[in-house]
Subunit: 254 residues, 2 copies
């Protein structure tokens, strides 16, 4: 807590959310991130239950300033989850009242960096509007770990979110992303709900040209992390597969 | 070192490269990243001198397995620096001989994540070709810290590298990026050599529409970090400025 107006910390969460095996937090979190997380008592989050579970893990390593039950943990409304921060037209300013009253606050999502491929941008925007200092903390970001591991162009890249789940539209979208990647040399990254990993991979292997490069990163920061990268010919020759349970980032490029 | 073939670790470096003040490594690096970095003895890097300086800092916190002087530290050729990994057509496989001989290796750049807005993708690609396991370690990534802090759309974004330095081309490029961002809702991120920060900001304030949002992140992870975000009207009203020394990430969107 600081005098005057509090700050908004963007607090990354580990990438093992919902996974059977969890790694010790210090494997993917710097000490400072854990210390600051342990000191905060006012949160805006994607999901209150998973925030409490995360704070419990933080507390096992760094004593919390206040017990979890006495902390203020406010969820973003369902509308923001469903439509995304930018479509929902949500005014997050009221959520930041604790900061205006002088309390440092944390924004946290279920896994990785809040406001990146996850809800929270409306809260960051509201903080800037109110003159609240925004400070991001270091932690795991699956998209960038995946990009680095892909061997694809890291000087120009785009993350395009989820691809369509219907087969025909999915194939069409993938073809469009491939054309863009080959024409502009801009790596195209995308994600899918884990239970559709295998369906997406099948479409990619059927749809992409033999010389186009495809990379996947699954289980990042976990003991069974796996990063594959090769052209479609190589994928078929080596018979690489994915399971339908592990969060995976896909990327394509020349 | 492991039996059989070694692995390639992607080792992030702190973001304070070349800065007057350096922060303790544990502020931006997880313990595991430092432990693995301290255990490696074979490196491919952007710059050998800065790699040695980084290893010296790692060693002050976690004892190095071997003294720096006895480690193998090989720089990527100048061609890769100048043209980028994808234009240079560089075959990095010979650099990975130590891994084929059973040694774990590290890939490191001067700041942040190797192979992301930095050289190294050709080495990652060569590792995949040789069947060497690629494992990214967690650390600071300026682009994603900047995106999270911007309040701009984090569900769809692109990093487009450097903008042109000549004034007319710079303005033209910025206009094109603004059009793309407004039309597609895809946040556009870019960087500039720090000594041109002020010139770039001036062009942005002159060129962008009053309602377009501009965000800058300077000195990320450093004590004097500063994140600004607002529409162009707000930028002008508040008179936010940048210095010509601090690495800065720029982003624009609706």
């Amino acid at each position: 807590m600081s005098a005057g107006v509090g700050r908004l910390f963007l607090v990354p969460a580990p990438l093992d959310f919902g996974c059977a095996v969890q790694s010790p937090l210090q494997e993917s979190m710097p000490e400072q991130t854990l210390h600051i997380a342990a000191s905060l008592q006012h949160w805006v989050c994607e999901n209150a239950k998973s925030t409490r579970a995360y704070l419990k893990r933080v507390g096992e390593r760094t004593p919390l300033t206040a017990p979890i039950q006495s902390q203020s943990i406010v969820e973003l409304p369902r509308e923001v989850h469903k439509k995304g921060d930018h479509q929902a037209g949500f005014d997050a300013r009221p959520l930041l009242n604790p900061a205006l009253q002088g309390h440092d606050m944390g924004l946290v999502s279920e896994a990785g960096m809040p406001a990146v491929a996850d809800p929270g941008a409306s809260v960051v925007r509201a903080a800037h509007l109110l003159g609240i200092t925004v400070l991001p903390l270091v932690g795991p970001v699956s998209l960038l770990l995946a990009l680095a591991s892909s061997g694809l162009n890291g000087q120009s890249f785009a993350f395009v979110g989820y691809v369509p789940s219907a087969a025909a539209e999915r194939a069409q979208r993938i073809k469009a992303l491939e054309n863009l990647a080959l024409k502009t040399q801009q790596t195209q990254l995308f994600i899918e709900t884990p239970y559709r990993n295998q369906a997406l991979l099948a479409t990619l292997l059927q749809t992409l040209q033999p010389t186009t490069r495809l990379a996947t990163s699954s289980g990042l920061t976990l003991p069974d992390a796996s990063n594959h990268s090769g052209d479609i010919k190589t994928w078929k020759a080596r018979g690489w597969t994915l399971d339908n349970a592990t969060p995976t980032v896909f990327s394509i490029g020349p």
